[in-house]
């Protein structure tokens, strides 16, 4: 799970729907596992497979035209439940980056804690990126974490994206919050003593 993150260049999978909630990313009935592995199989389960378990050909994950490590989604991605299983499913499927114009808070945190990078772009950049991908599914996007830039290589357009310095450092160095907190345990004890 702890994968160092630097620069990723990849084709994209377009999902232009808005308000994609975590119940769609991974339905509740698949949350019964006690490990983090294997959730990718059921990513977008009910959009991807019908009741009999047959692939729904029209859904983008079943369309061989599109592939890559970057998921591009409509605004307010990841709303609803706090289930980290949604981030595990996205990571397990093979996505390293999710691009949208807006993310729900808890899900965004969950992605970061699983070394999946949520990149917030402007509505204009997002609309143009969908356009580029539909015109040419081989369109590549470069996500440069150290520089905090995302580039649509079809148009050459580039945008700066925000990430706080602490999380950026964690991603680049493959460290998680627990590593940090454990190293700072004395501060916690001092805080408790002073209350």
């Amino acid at each position: 799970m702890k994968t160092k993150f630097n620069i990723i260049t990849s084709t994209c999978v377009p999902l232009p729907l808005e308000n994609v909630d975590t119940d769609q990313i991974i339905p509740a009935r698949f949350l019964k596992a006690t490990t983090k592995e294997g959730f990718g199989e059921n990513l977008f389960r009910d959009w991807r497979y019908d009741k009999e378990g047959n692939k729904i050909e029209s859904f983008v994950l079943n369309d061989p035209t599109y592939g890559g490590k970057i998921l591009v989604a409509g605004k307010n991605f990841g709303s609803g439940s706090s289930r980290e299983h949604a981030a595990w499913a996205i990571a397990d499927y093979g996505f390293r980056v999710v691009v949208s114009s807006f993310f729900a808070d808890i899900h965004k945190n969950n992605e970061l804690n699983n070394f999946v990078l949520p990149v917030v772009v402007t509505e204009e950049f997002l609309a143009e990126l969908f356009d580029s991908i539909y015109k040419d599914p081989k369109t590549e996007v470069e996500v440069n974490l150290p520089e905090q830039t995302i580039t649509n290589k079809a148009t050459g357009k580039s945008e700066h994206f925000e990430i706080n310095a602490y999380k950026k450092d964690c991603l680049i160095n493959g460290l998680d919050d627990i590593d940090y907190l454990l190293a700072n345990k004395s501060k916690i004890e001092a805080f408790e003593a002073a209350r």
Partner: protein, 467 residues
């Protein structure tokens, strides 16, 4: 310096601030349920750690558990394994555990307040977005992911960015037949499911002050449905009267000392919020949702918005949503057939919800072709229902009680609504497939649910209260 209610509590829990503004936040209480904790406990074991402050952690299964025959083993082996795993983790690490049929078992967001574990001024987290419920008692409470559950287990801290603050004021006096759920669905319909993302919301104003403690829990519960990190209400006598003498509430001199401290928990008159929004209670009617997110709600007498009223980028999603529900833009919901009714969940599974439901169905009969699931939020609620004789009123009208749990809110147990069927549900989410694959959910309050249960149709409950 003037501070908001949120800032007063937050600032007292900051252990450290990093140069980029990231905050190491101290957590007073961690609640764990069976779905979002196993990987956190596994992580703890893999690192060779133990819970840092076990006495500040309470565990109970609620999501997977059956609502019938809880005395028998859980039939679904995968569900059973998850519940057993929580019990085993709690035992191994020496944590408080309220298992199946324990008198204090129930939905964690119902049990926390009713046992007095949840108190004003605290920071409270749980791997569950509806943790926002506990903010109703004047606490900072919010949902976290499993990685953060692991952090809290290991260090009683999490790394957070400080959210912005928003105050939502509802002034005026509410109309008869309008419940706290209607307040919340109204607010979300105006804010959208992302309108409060990045904010921590304080609810205020005359109409909020005049709510009961349980109504406040319902309102704060739904804060996450507009994207808010959490919701809270300044504690007052309503809060203190509710909390006094509950099992884990402070007692004697300690109680007096605490109440004096809690009385300082309010937003100073000149405190600045990043955003202020005002609604009027007179504008709020009983609400229903017509789509597949909680923001798609309207007064029960209104018509479903037209396609033209939706902005262009959202039309694909809007059409997909109405197609899923089998509804048409522009039509009325009144009189539409209902197949299932669900009363329960951390949103509306408390005693006042059962009183409201019973008050409407009293002397009437359940409609023939409706399946009705009445699921108390906890065993304490169940005992209170029986103590007040509400179970008898319900039985006379043709309804039976089930056993406590999250149940049909997210259908992780056997309480699933079949594909294509319509359910009027007092729960919190109407997402596609939330109550079972293909299920169509109409969110509403307990009175609209009761009206549907006796008429078999979407009915304005005020029509029935008149009789």
């Amino acid at each position: 310096m003037s501070k908001t209610l949120f800032e007063k509590i937050w600032d007292k829990h900051v252990v450290d601030t990093l140069p980029d503004g990231t905050i190491q936040l101290y957590i007073d209480r961690l609640y764990c349920h069976e779905v979002t904790s196993p990987q956190a406990f596994a992580g703890l074991r893999a690192r060779g750690l133990k819970p840092f402050r076990p006495e500040q952690i309470t565990c109970m299964p609620d999501h997977n558990i059956p609502t019938l025959n809880q005395d028998k083993p859980i039939k679904d082996p995968v569900s059973k394994n998850q519940v057993d795993t929580l019990e085993e983790n709690a035992r191994y690490f020496g944590l408080t555990y309220y298992g199946l049929q324990h008198p204090k078992n129930g939905i964690i967001h119902v049990v926390g307040p009713e046992t007095g574990l949840t108190q004003p001024g605290m920071t409270i987290v749980c791997g569950d977005s509806h943790t926002s419920t506990h903010g109703a008692m004047g606490a900072i409470a919010f949902g976290i992911g499993t990685s953060e559950v692991e952090m809290t287990l290991a260090t009683q801290c999490i790394m957070q960015r400080r959210p912005k603050t928003m105050r939502i004021t509802i002034d005026g006096v509410r109309k008869p037949g309008v419940t706290a759920k209607d307040f919340a669905l109204y607010i979300i319909s105006k804010m959208s499911t992302s309108g409060a993302t990045g904010y921590f919301v304080e609810y205020a104003g005359e109409a909020i002050r005049n709510t009961t403690m349980e109504e406040r829990l319902t309102i704060c519960n739904l804060s996450i449905e507009m994207g808010a990190r959490g919701g809270m209400i300044a504690p007052d006598d309503v809060t203190f009267d509710y909390l006094k003498d509950r099992e884990f509430a402070p007692r004697g001199e300690e109680w007096e000392r605490k109440v004096n401290e809690w009385r300082q928990l309010y937003s100073d008159p000149d405190a600045k919020f990043d955003k202020e929004i005002v609604f009027h209670a007179e504008d709020i009617d009983p609400m229903v949702t017509y789509g597949t997110n909680p923001g798609m709600g309207m007064g029960i007498r209104e018509n479903i918005p037209s396609m033209e009223s939706v902005d262009e980028a959202g039309r694909i999603s809007y059409k997909k949503s109405l197609d899923y529900m089998g509804f048409k833009a522009g039509e009325s919901m009144l009189g539409k057939k209902v197949d299932y009714v669900f009363l329960g969940s951390c949103t509306n599974g408390r005693i006042e919800d059962f009183r409201a439901f019973a008050s409407l169905v009293k002397g009437k009969k359940k409609a023939d072709d409706v399946t009705v699931w009445l699921v108390p939020g906890s065993w304490q609620v169940e005992r209170q229902i029986r103590a007040e004789g509400i179970d008898k009123v319900l039985a006379e009208a043709g309804f039976a009680l089930r056993q406590p749990g999250c149940s049909a809110c997210l259908a992780m147990n056997e309480d699933k609504v079949p594909a294509g069927k319509y359910a009027v549900s007092t729960s919190n989410r109407n997402f596609e497939g939330r109550q079972g694959p293909g299920a169509r959910t109409i969110l509403a309050g307990p009175l609209v649910a009761a009206a549907a249960a006796v008429t078999g149709k979407i009915t304005d409950p005020r029509e029935l209260i008149k009789d």
